[in-house]
Amino acid sequence: MILSARDVAVTFGRQTRAVDGVNLDLVKGEIVALVGESGCGKTTLARSLLGLVRPSRGVISFEGSPLEYSTRRLKAYRSQVQLILQDPLGALNPRHTVYDAVAEGVRIHGIPGDEKQLVSAALARVGLRPPEQFFLRYPHELSGGQRQRVVIAGALILQPRVLIADEPVSSLDASVRGEILSLLLRLREELQLTVLVVTHDLGLAWNVADRVAVMYLGRIVECGPASEVLTNPQHPYTKALMSVVPDVSQKDAIVLQGEAPDASRIPAGCRFHPRCPVAIDQCRTTMIPILVGSEGHEVACLLKGKS
């Protein structure tokens, strides 16, 4: 286990509980997909794993030792766990060249060695060859796929152990998407990287993830091996999510009513019950325990197994 969240909660203001008790373990060398609608707290959870927000409850631990929030410790931590953002154009400073963008981590952490060589190597690793050709380009002169590769190179130059990728391909063209996902798979092979992919796209999870965790309103409601969760979903919410993936072979889509729920007004009992198509009276009142978030297939539902 390389990175783990234990009973983590993140509160904004007085009421908004964006993440409300989550357990999640990342094992070395695996790719985990964290899936859910926007506003379900998946990005906030990712940010707290990076140490960018401090949980109001619970512990994040890296290689067994809990994360400390002193400036110096955080800085050291950040060379180990790196972030890849959704919109590569926004993630690159428009006034910095590719070289500057990739070298940034080296400069911040004062990594020894020839900067130029390190940058070249990082660019080559993500498939931008020959690297020298890209040094003086600006982000707006690159294509979407190239930009995302630059962002990944900037993260890899610190030789991190864990990558956290927040919707890494959702702003890219469909034809480029596969190339970036293949790159993630290749990096996992070559560098034994552990990757957490935050996404709303179940197809992506099927493409790359070993394990899937489905989040709803601040909690993980179902998690387990991707092949099991995605082919045999147990939680009604996962079933609904699966059914609306545009796919001609599906017949009956379970379209849930209403908008994404509000994290400042979490319902009692099972938090999914107001939108759940199969809810029974007990669901309104019975508390559902937090999932362990480890390797097995777990479901946070009163009715699991019966249907």
Binding site: G90, N93, P94, R95, T97, E104, F135
Partner: protein, 291 residues
């Protein structure tokens, strides 16, 4: 480092290429160049005696002639030479005051935009206060209390005019703070200083520069107004002070247009050209203008 200089050169060249195609901006730059040459050469070409009331050799309020192309003032000095030497003072006050204003405005703006908490709130409060308070009455009170001198004039204009810049820079900083690349820098481990100096500052600098030229225009106008009200240095008459002199010696009722018209036209030319250059720069650097 060669890559950094190379990059800077590329950026500068690109900026100049865009600016060169902006017709009004280039006209402004041309006019400005002419005035700057006059300002630099004035003390060399104009003998001190020409500006001395006691040594003036022309008649009172003489209309333009060959010897005095723009006529004479109430004490017989050449209006042309007065204006030429006033150029230096008007430009100096305008630019010096702007530097003060920009340094305060940019620092306050970036700090107020980058940090959170009570300190930032206090900075925003002070900025808002200076924005709300009417400029000229405040400047008059300050200048009166400090006494008339060139340095005080610069300080008063600088200290009363930074708030607009601070607000602009704060807004820009806030919008940069919200961009993903700052999040990425934080995730890479960058501290406050690194974030502000490497990401925020380079992205606000072009806006600061465009804003600077616009602020110079306003500072020169402010200087003219304050000098007209008699708050300038009586020993170093700027264009505003010349107009004050013209007004208080009755040039208007005498119809001495050569004493009134030219200083005002100079103010317009300089302020307008600063405005044109500033607007052209703004068009090039304004992130909203592109894509």
């Amino acid at each position: 480092m060669s890559i950094a200089t190379q990059r800077r050169r590329i950026a500068l060249t690109r900026f100049w290429m865009s600016f060169r195609h902006d017709r009004t901006g280039m006209i402004g730059l041309g006019i400005l160049g002419a005035f700057i040459i006059v300002a630099v050469l004035a003390p060399i070409l104009i003998p001190a005696s020409a500006l001395d009331v006691t040594k003036a050799d022309g008649g009172r309020f003489q209309p333009p002639s060959l010897a005095y192309p723009l006529g004479t003032d109430d004490s017989g000095r050449s209006v042309l030479l007065l204006i030429a030497s006033g150029t230096r003072i008007s430009l100096t006050v305008g630019i010096a005051a702007t530097i003060i204003s920009m340094v305060i405005g940019t620092t306050v703006g970036i700090m107020a935009g980058h940090f959170r908490g009570p300190g930032s709130h206090a900075l925003v409060g002070v900025t808002d206060w200076f924005l709300v308070i009417p400029f000229l009455p405040l400047a008059i009170v300050l200048a009166t209390v400090l006494g008339p001198s060139l340095l005080n004039l610069i300080i008063v204009i600088g200290v009363t005019s930074w708030a607009g810049t601070a607000r602009l820079i704060r807004a820009q900083t806030l919008s940069i703070e919200g961009r993903p690349y700052l999040e990425r820098a934080k995730a890479l481990g960058a501290g406050n200083w690194f974030q502000m100096s490497r990401h925020v500052l380079p992205n606000v600098i072009p806006l600061v520069l465009a804003n600077t030229t616009l602020t110079v225009a306003i500072a020169i106008l402010s200087e003219t107004t304050l000098s007209f009200l008699g708050l300038g240095d009586p020993m170093a008459p700027s264009w505003g002070a010349i107009l004050d002199n013209a007004f208080s010696t009755g040039a208007v009722s005498r119809g001495a247009w050569w004493f009134v018209l030219p200083p005002g036209l100079c103010v317009i030319a300089v302020v307008l050209s600063f405005t044109l250059v500033g607007r052209a720069m703004e068009r090039i650097v304004d992130p909203r203008g592109r894509d």
